[in-house]
């Protein structure tokens, strides 16, 4: 299932990006050193970090999307740069745990 499909089924908002990458796993952490070394390509990465530095990590790991939970707002320049880099950013009021539990039910992993 693509990031777009997961977002739509869980009523989450796609802020930027095409969302057409397949979600093949999940990862949640806000410390970038952990994410760069432990997240996998295709993961849906859930993080409360809403600054520009998540974009380099998202593209180096090649995650399928980044989900910003808990109703946290993305900085304006984050949206701009994510659009340029075609990184799929998704926003939701759900908690990180809830995003992963529900998305996991959807994709069966």
């Amino acid at each position: 299932m693509t990031a777009r499909e997961v977002a739509e089924k869980l009523n989450m908002t796609i802020l930027t990006g095409s969302g057409d990458k397949e979600v093949t796993g999940f990862y949640t952490c806000d410390l970038l050193s952990w994410v760069i070394s432990h997240a996998n390509s295709g993961d849906m990465w859930v993080t409360v970090m809403n600054n520009l530095n998540i974009l380099a990590v998202a593209s180096l790991v090649d995650v399928s999307c980044v989900v910003i939970p808990e109703g946290i707002e993305a900085y304006e320049n984050l949206l701009e740069r994510a659009k340029e880099k075609d990184i799929t950013l998704i926003a939701t009021n759900r908690s990180a745990a809830n995003v992963i539990i529900e998305a996991s039910k959807l994709i069966g992993r």
Binding site: M49, N53, L60
Partner: protein, 141 residues
Amino acid sequence: MSEEIIRLHYDINDEDFSAAGEASSGVKKTLSALGVSPETVKKVAIAMYEAEINAVIHADGGEADIEITPEEIKVVISDRGPGIPDMEKAMEPGYSTATETVRELGFGAGMGLPNMKRYTDEMYIDTKLGEGTTVTLIVKI
């Protein structure tokens, strides 16, 4: 891949940290385009990202020189920052002198040097107090 050596150079000057990781992203793209295996690309990306971030958050920027041969990928990141006073301590997982501001951006987990060590085949650090630090990272193809 052809037999010749491919060299890349990047300046890492990033006052507001907003472009931190761009050099690593550029190298990742080049390696992927050259047909280097995804596992090797991943190792280089992780190790170089950590070294690049360190140059930005601990030393006000620096330079990256990359050499790609059919045998290995060598990344040299050098800065003119404060140097590392206690190398043994710096290598400990979780040890970090990062400021609160830097930590709020998601850096400062103290996992940078351990990650570099873990994901490379060879790592050399040349550091002098008040002069700077040069980190050499080698990943065999």
